[in-house]
Structure formats: structure tokens, C-alpha cells
Amino acid sequence: MDLNYSAEELAFRDQARDWLAKSLPAELKDKGHYSKDELLRWHRILAKQGWVAPAWPKEWGGTGWNVVQRYIFEEELGYSGGPPLIPFGLTMCAPVLLRFGTEAQKKRFLPRIYQGEDFWCQGYSEPGSGSDLASLKTRAILKADKYIVNGQKIWTTLAHYADWIFCLVRTDPTVEKRQEGISFLLIDMKTPGITVRPLILMDGAHEVNEVFFDDVKVPAENLVHEEGKGWTVAKYLLGYERMNTGRIGESKRQLARLKEIAAGKMKDMRFRDRLSRLEIELIALEITNLRFLDRMRRTGQPPGADVSMLKIKGTEIQQGLTELAMECIDPLAGDETSMALQKKYLTTRKTTIYAGSNEIQRNIIAKMTLGL
């Protein structure tokens, strides 16, 4: 056991760090919100370098890096302060296509995802189906060679930017086990009958939407895997080896910025100790993440419910960082910098709710890991 990076790993890290520092346009650094153009600009810079989808198989553009290298790169990418890589195409739709898609689907969609030509969003949650996702009602009925889709999705992140949406839809409402009536469908956002309505969150930002489907016609060839296997696909994604679930690089950057902001407050021992404890939580999360990767490397098993633990701790840390940052400023301040810090606190409350609330993550660990 040696928790220090090897000389090769350090060289790899330095190379990634230098390239990221050199390649990230200054005007894209550390912004709270990014436009579609800004998101895609950074995506395409990474794609041109061949680094936008390291985990993909090499034939589709993956780098062939081992898990530690991939982890190092993810962390450096997060630490760079650039726009986030939007996961819906790169680390959600693509792994699904690679695992379950037809050759035609892979050829049609993967290169465009890689190059940042298609912007994807995710259609899972519905007004009546949040944590109880399997109760979803958006209906897809196959008529001849088309599915007719009716229903509504909600909390759809960046649907107003999206060219495509991957959806869980109900193709069979009669099966006894309701999960077996769900299918995974790819829908072109330009199809007639789709309406996107903004939902403004409490920080005032437009990030999520409602998406309405009104007799939307979707070619049957856009079904992924078999009809009724949508839940299998969704579960696969849940355990998919996402290196970045804990968002450690981003939190490290936030921690470094927090220390700058908090310089005047470090004499306050109550504050200082809370900051130290949070920093230690982050160190512990990083090592835990590396231990899981190491286990994955040794056993060849996907991480499964381990991802849930990283999600819980990672999001708690993100929230803790924004909370401490907010405490460094006057609660009645109205200047731009102060307001940005306060809004960051507001928007970060979402992290323990989205992508399977932390309570759902605990359910998953209880069931999958502990056998309860």
C-alpha cells in the first residue's frame, strides 16, 4: 500500500494540469452559469485534444487510460475551473448506447456526442414520479413504425439547450410488474408536439424545465434495448462507473477559493474548526473514491452501490463549502461578489435532491450493499 502517486502518475497529472491551464479560455473560468455556446466551446476544445470521453472504448474515441489516470484527469478537469462537461450525452446516453445500442444507433449518435454536435438532456422525472420513478406515466404507443408519445417530464436540466432527449416512457401499462412496462426512447427535441417551459429556481437561474409531449411521433428505431427493458437500462446507468460522482476536483477548487475568501475569518476558531472538518471530509472522500477505484481495478467489478456513498458525501461537502463561503460575507450585502456566493449556496441545495435524492441513495446502499 502506498497512497502517494507514482512518478509516472505525477507526470501524467502535471501534463493534464498544464494542458488544461493553457487551453481553458480565461473568460470561461469560474463562472456560475454558462451559455450553451460556452459549454460547447469547452467541450469541443477537449474533443479536439481527444480527452472529452476518456472512459469510452478506444474505437469510439476513448483514451485507454487506466482507472487511476482517468480519476486524475477528472479531478484536474474539475479543478481547472472550466465549464462542467454536461453528462447527459457523454456519461449517460453514450454508455447506454455502448452497452445496449444497435450498431446503427452507435454510429449515428456517438460521434456527434463526442464532437459536441448534439446537446442531450435527460427525461426521467415526472410531476407524480420523483423518487418513485417506476410510477412514471408518459405514454408511448407503437403505431406502425412510430411511437406516439404523450405526457410530461419535469426538472429537465438544460432541455432549452438540448437537441435530443433520452426518456423513460411507459410502453405497457398492463404488466403486473410496472418496471417491465417501461422503455428507453431517444427523442429529437425538434419533433412537432414538444413544448419546453422554463422553471426558474430560487437563485433566479433558468437551468431546469418542464417538457410536454403532445402526440409526438418518434421513429421505432429510436428505441434502445428491447421494449419493456427501460428499467434495466436505467439501473445499468446507476451503477455505471462514473469516476466523478463525488466531484472532488471541483470541491477542491471551491475549498481553495473558500480559504481565500475566509482569510480574515481564520482567527475565529469556531469557523476554522468547521472548515478543517470539511477539508478532512473531502480528503476522506478522495481516499474512499480511490479505494473503490482500486477495488474495481482488482476485481473487474463495476462499483454498484459504492457510487451512492460517493454521491451522498460529495454533495454534503459541496453544500458545506457553499454554506461556509456564505458565512464569510455580510448577510445584508448586495454587491455582485457577495450575491454570487449567496446564490451558490441557494443553488447547491439541489445537489442532495437531484440524481436520486440522498435518501434514495441510502435506500440503495441498504438494499444492495447491506442486504436489508
Binding site: 500500500m1 502506498d2 480511490l290 482500486d294
Partner: protein, 332 residues
């Protein structure tokens, strides 16, 4: 970067675990507590397995191991709530190895490696020292200088700690002691970091026991006609216990690895203090929840979980509590 145990480390950990499973069940431990508080038979077996010489230099009969080599051993000790003062002896031996003259090392360390000599360290002349009643030699820091005395020459009042460890209140006087090293501050700090990292590993082992046994209880204890583990309120609480355990284990790995590899004392100290803070917090969380989820049974002397509770309560504060290490972490 790797988390693998070497083949040798794995074999040793397996044989220690096998021994503890066969000879150190809860009932065996009870008998030791009812007797002298430690077992010379167990000690002889630990020496036979090579544990007393593991982290000592090969020049003095040891195997040249480090904190990582001892980590899984201490985890196994934590799970079994082992009473024998191995870590105090190895900590004192490390201090001798770093601070004493070659002649002193020759006089002491081979005997430690062979299991014939037990030593303990006291950070001040009047101190509560775990393992002192079973020790042959006592090391004591007076100002900046390190002294050594025959334990028989040191007035001491033996007692048992909250978690049934054999300890003594000592009254160390330099008049009947020999100087071991002048200006030993840095060596003491290093040896304390070594011991702290391994206390973390021991606490991780005790946490593993508390988590596992509580999970088992949730699966078997029935109320309202069903196992209580079907209740979400309890599921979420035990999930959080396991998360605390995993986080603590990660920090113990970090601390042991840095004790072995770090050339920079500040880097080492920072990792060790960070680990102790996390382990202290996790030990408190896991131990308290393990008792709560056992209900009344968790309070009972008859169940090992209440003994693990006491051990974790002490380990959380041994080698410096969370507040002490927060102060140190922030100053580095």
C-alpha cells in the same frame, strides 16, 4: 498509488485473524479480564507470529516493517478488542530505534522482537499509562530528554481503564532512571504519529465489529412481526454508520501510508491529525448508534457491542482527541 497489501502482509493478517477467531473469542477475553488483565500465553503467540518484531529494524532482530504492515493487524485487534499491550510496546521500541544509542538498541530491541521485553512510554512523569503494569521497562519524557527505567523501580498504581485495558498511574523519577536520549522531541513526535496512525487502524477494526454486529441484529431482531431492519428510519442510520466506517478506514490508510513514506514531518503530522479527527468523529458516531440500534440489549454488559462501545469511546480520545488534533491540523 496502490491500496494492495503485499502477499506477506496478507498472510500475516490472515494468520492473526485466524488466531483471534480460534483463541480470542468474547468468552476468552472475559476470562483474561477476570484474571490479570492480559495473557502471557497470548503474548507468546503474538511474538511467535512475529508481531513483536514486525516494525523493528533487521539490525536488531526485527523484520523492518512499517505502519502499513501493522495496519491490518491492528484492525484485527480492534475487531477482537485485544487487551495485550502490543502497540504501547512497539511505540516505545520505535522511540528507542530512533533516539537511543546503538548499545542501548542492542540491549533492548532484540529482546522486544523475541517477545521477552515489554516497554511503555509516558509523555510526562505523572501519567496514566496503558500496559505499564505488564511492562519491564518504562520510557519517560522529562522536558526534552528521554529517560528509561526498570518498571519495578517506578512507583505505580495499577487499575483498569473504562474499556478494561490494564493501566497504571505512574510516578516516574529520573533519579532511578538512565538517560536514553537528549533532545528527543522530534523522535517522540514521530513515534506518537506512528502510534496515532495505528490507534486509528485499531478503532477502524472496532468500528467494523460494531457495524457488522448491528447489521446482524437489524436482520434478526423482530418487532411488529418483521425484522427491524425493514424500517427505513433504521436503514438510513445504519447506512450512515457504514459510511462513517469507510471514511475512517480511508483516513487510517492515509495516516499509515504517510507515516511510512513521508520525508516531511509536517506533511506526516497533517495526515495523522486529519485521520485522528475523522476517526474520533466516526468512532463516536458508530459506537453511539450501535448501542441505540440494539435498544436495551446495547446497554448490556453481556453483549460485546457494549464493550466495543467502551473501546471506541477511549480510542476516540487516546493519542489526542479531535479538538487536540484540530488545533494541530490548523497550525500546520
Amino acid at each position: 498509488m496502490n491500496f494492495d497489501y503485499s502477499e506477506e502482509q496478507q498472510l500475516l493478517a490472515d494468520s492473526v485473524r485466524r488466531f483471534l477467531q480460534n483463541k480470542y473469542q468474547f468468552e476468552d477475553r472475559k476470562k483474561i479480564i477476570a484474571g490479570e488483565g492480559w495473557s502471557s500465553d497470548v503474548w507468546a503467540k503474538l511474538a511467535e507470529m512475529g508481531l513483536t518484531g514486525l516494525p523493528l529494524s533487521p539490525d536488531y532482530g526485527g523484520f523492518g516493517g512499517g505502519a502499513v504492515d501493522l495496519m491490518s493487524v491492528m484492525e484485527a485487534f480492534g475487531e477482537a478488542l485485544v487487551l495485550e499491550p502490543l502497540l504501547p510496546t512497539l511505540m516505545a521500541a520505535r522511540l528507542v530505534g530512533r533516539a537511543a544509542s546503538d548499545a542501548q538498541k542492542r540491549a533492548l530491541l532484540p529482546a522486544v522482537a523475541e517477545g521477552r521485553l515489554r516497554m511503555v512510554f509516558a509523555a510526562s512523569p505523572k501519567a496514566n499509562v496503558v500496559g505499564a503494569p505488564a511492562a519491564h521497562k518504562l520510557l519517560c519524557l522529562l522536558e526534552k530528554d528521554l529517560f528509561i527505567a526498570d518498571a519495578a523501580e517506578v512507583p505505580m498504581k495499577p487499575y483498569r481503564t473504562l474499556d478494561n485495558m490494564l493501566a497504571a498511574r505512574i510516578d516516574f523519577s529520573p533519579s532511578k532512571a538512565d538517560l536514553l536520549a537528549k533532545d528527543a522531541g522530534a523522535a517522540v513526535e514521530e513515534a506518537l504519529d506512528f502510534a496515532t496512525a495505528l490507534v486509528c487502524a485499531e478503532a477502524v477494526g472496532a468500528m467494523k465489529f460494531s457495524c457488522d454486529t448491528t447489521l446482524e441484529y437489524l436482520k434478526t431482531r423482530k418487532q411488529f412481526g418483521v425484522p427491524i431492519g425493514t424500517f427505513q428510519a433504521l436503514q438510513h442510520r445504519i447506512v450512515d454508520m457504514f459510511i462513517s466506517y469507510e471514511q475512517a478506514k480511508s483516513m487510517a490508510c492515509l495516516a499509515c501510508s504517510k507515516v511510512d513514506s513521508s520525508e516531511n514531518p509536517a506533511e506526516r503530522a497533517r495526515a495523522v491529525s486529519a485521520a485522528k479527527i475523522k476517526v474520533a468523529d466516526a468512532a463516536r458516531h458508530v459506537s453511539q448508534e450501535s448501542v441505540q440500534l440494539h435498544g436495551g440489549m446495547g446497554m448490556s454488559e453481556e453483549l460485546k457491542v457494549s464493550h466495543s462501545f467502551r473501546r471506541l469511546t477511549v480510542l476516540a480520545r487516546q493519542c489526542g482527541d479531535a479538538d487536540h488534533h484540530l488545533e494541530r491540523f490548523a497550525s500546520l
